[in-house]
Each structure stands twice: as structure tokens, then as C-alpha cells.
Amino acid sequence: MVRKYKAHYVLTCMVLLVLSLAMLIPVANIIALSFTSPDKIPEVSGFTMLPKGFSLINYKLLLTNSKVLRALFNSLLITGVSTILNVYMTCISAYVLTQSDLKGKSILIGILILVMFFEPGVVQEYLVMKHMHLIGDYWSVILYKAINVYYLIIMMRFFEDIPKSLIDAARVDGAGHGKILLRIFIPLAKPAMVTVGLLYTVFHWNACFKPSIFLSQDKWPLQVLLRQFVVLGNASCIIEAETINKASQISYEALKAGFIVIAIVPILILYPLILKYYTKGTMQGGVKG
């Protein structure tokens, strides 16, 4: 009996180990490739997890390229401004929508359900943007997802958990809604705000399709440029022919890998925070993602 149990346990561990390696190796491989020195590139196989030799040539080339820098700046700008606006709008709306005695609440909830379950499609979104004269403007990508209904619901769940006695006590002391939100809800729901803020950040950083149709080329964020270069294989979008000739010793594959790494570094930096806040919230409060 004891031996049988052990065999089954070892099997479980093996399965999970293999699965986790299937997710770890491709990412580690890309990172290793991007740091490998150019003369050792042919030695790198798909299973290599550590760079052979060490070189920053890909990053030097990418991070001195004006188009990449421009895209990086665009991404940071869009992500930063959007996230601040998102968290602000989401907090305020969640506060209002969790007021139990709000008149007209059912209409607002109805709108939310409609928005959640009915998407008008890409042409309609484009036409509305055009109508608002926002095409080609940073505001188009900042505004089109000012509130994500799912994240709003996460926030509302957190707000609903705040003890009523605290709110009543504040009300007796004469605090209005503004004060209650600022002094009670926001400090208590800080983990929720960080969680939602991080999810919004990831969303905006990773967005590719909508920015590519709403924005003109000089305002493209990193992901759109990455798509052009890595997925569509359109190298001329960032590198002029002369640069390729000048740096003939660089490998095209390694350059792609370097670009991918630049795009995932912010995600990898934020990831531990997301794990800490999101999983903690999920495990404790049963928040649905």
C-alpha cells in the first residue's frame, strides 16, 4: 500500500515537472538566445536555457534604434496614463455601484451586463472612434477600455466585503461619501486596487490589435512593432538595410529574441506582484477572475 502510494505521488510530480518545463524552457531559451554572443549562435539549440558566451549586441542595436525607442516610449505612455485612469474610474464606479440604497442601480447594472455580454464588433468601435475624431490619437487607446467590467466586478466584490459597521460609524460621525471612499474604502481595499491596477497594466502593455488599427505608425506601441518584426517577419519596419549590412555578424533570430525579451521584461517584473496580490485575494475571498 505504502509503495503504491509513493509511485502515484512520484508520477504526479513527474507530470507537473514536465508541464512546467514545457512552459519554462521556451521562455528561458529566448532569453538565452538574446544574450548569446554572435559567434556561438549556431551552438544554441531549442533546449538551451543559459546563454553561450555573453553579448549585449542585440540590445545595443535595438535600444539605440529610434523606432524601437519611440515604440517603447509610446507603450510606457499609453500604459501609464491608461492604468491611472482605469484605477480611478473603476474605484469610483465600484463605490457607487456597491451602495445598497442607490436609486436607479438596476439600470446601471443592466448596462454593465449588456456591455459584458454583447460586443459590437471591430468596425463599430472603429467608426465610433472616427466619429469622435480620436483615430490616430493616443486618447483612442487610452479611452476605449476606460473600465473593464470584469475588473470592476472584482473591485465591487472587495468593496462589498468592507464591514458595514465601519461605514455606519463614519456616517454617524458626519462623513460624506467622498470621505468614506477616501478614508475607509481605499485604504482597506488597497490590495484590490493593486491587483486591478496590475491587471490593467498587463492588459495595456500587451494590447496589440486595437492600437494597430486606432493609431498611426509613429504612435504604435511596442507590441505592434514586435508583431511586424517577429510575427510577420518584416525586418525593414525597424532596421534599415545599411544597418543590417554594417552589423552582418548579428543573427536575425537572436535579434528577434532580444526584441521579445524587451517586450516581456515589464511583465516579468510585475509578475511576482500579481501572484502575491491576485492569488492571495483569490484564495481568501473567492474572487472570480
Binding site: M23, L24, S93, V96, L127, V128, V202, C208, L226, V231
Partner: protein, 312 residues
């Protein structure tokens, strides 16, 4: 009679006063929600209202002409649309049936782990791909699946001939399935792991005393506890039957596999924004939206009837 009237008036007065009082106390709430209302009106309700274009013939100059269901009829007569619809259904159903159970199995496996460090390592790694964009994943998978990529190298060990997966119409749908699993199965297991952690451990002790082995414990205790979560997620996913994952397909698609993975959303994008046939494209989107609403309402009602608990 007069007394009654008096009481009536008093209550009316009281009501008016209490409403005034309510507004004075809570009017600020309506001010606070105004930005959100404006946002939803402009970016969500306005596009929905604008979908009436689906019933019109779009003219660049002058006003549009009402043509009723003409666009929809044309849509269903178009062989491309029917092919795209079939693709969408096949890919969605494959995803629903093949992918749904994987997070459940993962959560059961992770739940068995006893070494805390190993458990933490596994969770940290398998949740991570969820946060990578489809562009990045497409970039990584393109090299994985290329002719001399890792997958073909592994297949070579088993003497299976190399395949160019990204360009093969037969294999590309499976690429969609596996890349979807790679990206989100880990993260989607969180909700099940959270449910598993809430199961009362005395249930297992009692079962062990009764002589139940681990498999029986899983079958009779763990799985029934997971059923409500599974049902809810199934309904939520079923509603997406005509979605099939736009971002994923958009990034993994190329001309040689267009036939087998062109889905409704990519079709609407192509004929709408690239070819400029707005009315046609919006008709396709409206069709998709309506089916989505029908699906969500009917699955909700079915779930309510079966388990007594719907979505809302």
C-alpha cells in the same frame, strides 16, 4: 375620510422630503458615476445603436438606405461566411471540450503535492504564460514549431517526419489548441485550486477511516465540490462559442492556413476594415452578438433549472 386624506398627504409630504433628503445625502453618488456613464454610453452603447448599419446600405455620401435583412441574406448566401462560421464552431468546440478539463486535472494534481517549495515552483511557472501577449507567444511558438524547431527535433527522436506546423492546414487548429493550453490552462486552474482549498479536511479523514482510497476520495469528495465551479465556468465559456479567440488567431494566422482558421472576428475585421464593406461586416458581428446573447440566456436558464443556481 378627512383624517385619511390627512394621513395620505402627510405620507406624501414625508416621501417628498425624504427624497430631497436622499438627494442631499446621496446626490454626490450620481456626480461620481457620471464619467462612467459617459464612457459606457460613448464607447459601448453608441456602437451598439450604430449597428443599425447592418440593415442599411452604406453610402459614403448622403444618407444610408434601409434595406432590411438584405445584408444578412447575402451573408448566408456567401460561401466564405459559411466556411468561416463552421471554422469558428469547430475551433470553439475543440477548445471547449479539450481545454476545459485540463485546468481541473492540473488543480487536482497540484493539490496532491506535499513539498511546499516544489508546489510553489510549479505554480509560479505554469501561471506565468497567461501574462504574455499573443504577439510574444506567436513569436516564441513560431520558432518552436518551425521546420528545425524543438517540436520537430523531438518528433525526430520518434522517427516522425518533420512538419511545418504553422503552414499546415491539418495541424494549425491543434496549434491553436495547444498554444491556448500553454497560455491559460495554468492560470485557469487557480479558481479550482481555490475551491479545493476550501474543502473541509475532516471529509477526507472520515473517508480514510471508511477505507476509501485516494481515487475514491477524489471521485466522491473532491469532484462533487468542484461541480458548481465547473458549471459556472462552462456557461461562461459556452457563451463564447462564436468567439474562438481573436487575438490568438490574428497572430498565429498566415495566408496558407487562412482556410482552416479564419474565424468570424477575423472575417469581420478583414471585410470591414480592410475591404471597407462596413454593412456586411457589421451584419456578421451583429449575428455573432445575437447568438452570444441567446447562448448566455439559455445556458443560464438551463443551469438554473438543473442546479438551482444560474449566473445571476
Amino acid at each position: 375620510m378627512s383624517k385619511r386624506n390627512h394621513v395620505f398627504n402627510a405620507s406624501k409630504n414625508h416621501k417628498r422630503q425624504s427624497f430631497k433628503c436622499y438627494l442631499k445625502q446621496n446626490g454626490i453618488l450620481y456626480v461620481m458615476i457620471i464619467p462612467a456613464i459617459i464612457y459606457f454610453s460613448i464607447f459601448h452603447l453608441l456602437p451598439i445603436v450604430g449597428m443599425r448599419i447592418a440593415f442599411e446600405e452604406y453610402h459614403l455620401q448622403g444618407s444610408n438606405e434601409w434595406v432590411g435583412l438584405k445584408n444578412f441574406v447575402a451573408l448566408f448566401r456567401s460561401s466564405t461566411f459559411l466556411k468561416v462560421l463552421l471554422n469558428t464552431l469547430v475551433i470553439s468546440l475543440m477548445k471547449l471540450i479539450i481545454i476545459m478539463p485540463i485546468p481541473i486535472i492540473l488543480s487536482l494534481l497540484i493539490n496532491e503535492l506535499k513539498q511546499k517549495n516544489f508546489k510553489k515552483y510549479v505554480q509560479t511557472i505554469i501561471y506565468m504564460p497567461y501574462f504574455l501577449s499573443w504577439v510574444v507567444i506567436a513569436g516564441i511558438w513560431l520558432s518552436l514549431l518551425s521546420y528545425d524547431g524543438v517540436v520537430n527535433q523531438i518528433l525526430n527522436i520518434f522517427h516522425i517526419e518533420a512538419v511545418d506546423f504553422m503552414k499546415s492546414e491539418i495541424h494549425i487548429r491543434w496549434v491553436l489548441i495547444f498554444s491556448e493550453i500553454w497560455k491559460s490552462a495554468g492560470w485557469n486552474s487557480i479558481i479550482y485550486i481555490a475551491t479545493l482549498m476550501k474543502i473541509n479536511p475532516t471529509l477526507y479523514s472520515a473517508a480514510q477511516i471508511d477505507g476509501a482510497n485516494r481515487f475514491q476520495q477524489m471521485w466522491y469528495i473532491t469532484l462533487p465540490e468542484l461541480v458548481p465551479t465547473i458549471v459556472t465556468l462552462f456557461i461562461l465559456n459556452f457563451r463564447l462559442l462564436l468567439n474562438a479567440g481573436f487575438d490568438q488567431v490574428f497572430n498565429l494566422m498566415n495566408d496558407s492556413v487562412l482556410n482552416s482558421i479564419d474565424i468570424l472576428d477575423t472575417y469581420a475585421y478583414r471585410i470591414g476594415l480592410l475591404d471597407g464593406q462596413y454593412a456586411f461586416s457589421i451584419a456578421a458581428s451583429l449575428f455573432k452578438g445575437m447568438i452570444g446573447v441567446i447562448l448566455i440566456v439559455s445556458t443560464h436558464l438551463a443551469a438554473k433549472k438543473i442546479s438551482g443556481k444560474g449566473l445571476w
